[in-house]
Symmetry: C2
Subunit: 261 residues, 2 copies
């Protein structure tokens, strides 16, 4: 029979990113050797789901994996790298904001394996359309990480540490900050006894619009028209919510500045 | 043979809302009698597309329509209502922010016909899933407007003027303001020579997430984790963009306040 040799991967972490990477690798016929996490319940649950070993000891991690993917909170990457033993496989982190240097200064074969997406354990994601941003400390490492990403997704991009940092910042605006605006709208809706469901078709269309129009061309609304009556009525409605009013005023000001100054 | 009597509708306006209402009514087998607009090209193009009469004169509008839908910018509704002749059909506006009173003080049969969506002429929308917020100055008017909306959409809600105003304000946050965040991300992406396309799967997932999770449960990111290293790195990157930095700081502050205070 023969066929391709299977990739072996160890996942360092058991949070949202580790969870989705491990599961999609398992489904893509990549061997997940081991799940490391300081959280016993998380590592055991995830290891069981992908038929991997669960381990608490970074020093005792399986030394024969082809890849070690570090999927821990950004501010823990450095510490984890420092506690790993010498390894022959490629060690890569999955962080948008952390330079490759944090790993490549210690490991001969290293890189970055950054899936540009927001992950929650409660939601399945379609991994095949997620952009994977790949960087390697050598051409060989980059190629191997690209091949691994290719098992999961059709969208692989070579992105260096500086570009990735800018991408991560832009992603915060369209993801975490957008979600905060959803939360803000939800606050207003709920206190008026209205259903957030009413806003869902609008939310969907605004997100879909920028697939075919630039955000500048897609802009509509009272600030875009500089409709002072509506703006003032909104501001008055927000008097009981000084925080939301501050947000309203800042974004409104920036839209007016963009289109009317 | 026989069957239902067709509805006759005149559309006052030729902008984005008028355009999509007229087209979807035409496709739903509602007779569009007339398109009024001060913009000659717009009214003639739209009238031709829906086999209607184009008119420049509000005073001379066809008096036999069952409905007159006013789809003009919010700050023009009052003026248009003042210039309409006496009419027997139901006169309704399509504005989120304008009280019904603006029309009902003048017309015996009147109401509101507010589709909660963002419209651009360049984009088709699926009208059947758009929430229509209906109000009538009498039960009979509300019922007739509900029936008309039912020709276009499966989602009809009775919403009074005060609720509609709150809904409109919440919609600004999830629509115009969200789009401004997309624009802001695009600014950062473009100046680094990266493609906005990289962000599209993320944009889509963030919008999809709140169909099944509350915005509070869906929140992720460095502000949510109060990850000071990442926050400070982002702030430093934004030094050349004081406006974007102000936006970053305000939203970050509000997320931290929500989850950590």
């Amino acid at each position: 029979m023969g066929g391709e040799k299977k990739y072996h991967v160890s996942i360092i972490g058991s949070g949202n990113v580790a969870f989705h990477l491990a599961k999609s690798m398992y489904n893509a016929d990549v061997m997940v050797d081991e799940i490391w996490s300081p959280n016993r319940k998380n590592r055991e649950t995830l290891a069981k789901a992908v038929m991997a070993k669960a381990t608490e000891s970074l020093a005792g991690i399986i030394p024969t994996s082809n890849f070690y993917l570090i999927a821990v909170p950004d501010d823990k990457v450095k510490e984890v790298v420092g506690n790993l033993p010498r390894l022959k496989g490629i060690v890569a982190h999955t962080s948008g904001i952390t330079p490759m240097e944090v790993i490549s200064s210690r490991f001969k074969n290293s890189g970055v394996f950054y899936p540009l997406q927001t992950f929650s354990k409660q939601r399945d994601v379609n991994m095949t359309t997620i952009p994977f941003c790949i960087e390697g400390n050598t051409d060989a490492a980059a190629e191997k990480l690209t091949n691994l990403a290719g098992k999961l997704s059709q969208k692989i991009y070579a992105v260096n540490s500086n570009e990735r940092k800018e991408l991560h910042l832009a992603a915060v605006f369209v993801s975490n900050f957008v979600n905060h605006l959803y939360h803000t709208a939800n606050t207003l809706i709920e206190e008026n006894g209205l259903s957030f469901e009413l806003l869902l078709p609008l939310i969907e269309e605004v997100a879909a619009k920028v697939k075919t129009l630039s955000p500048a061309a897609a802009q509509t609304g009272p600030a875009h028209r500089n409709d002072e009556n509506t703006l003032n009525m909104h501001r008055e409605m927000l008097n009981p919510h000084p925080d939301i009013k501050a947000l309203y005023n800042l974004i409104t000001h920036q839209i007016i500045k963009q289109y009317h100054e």
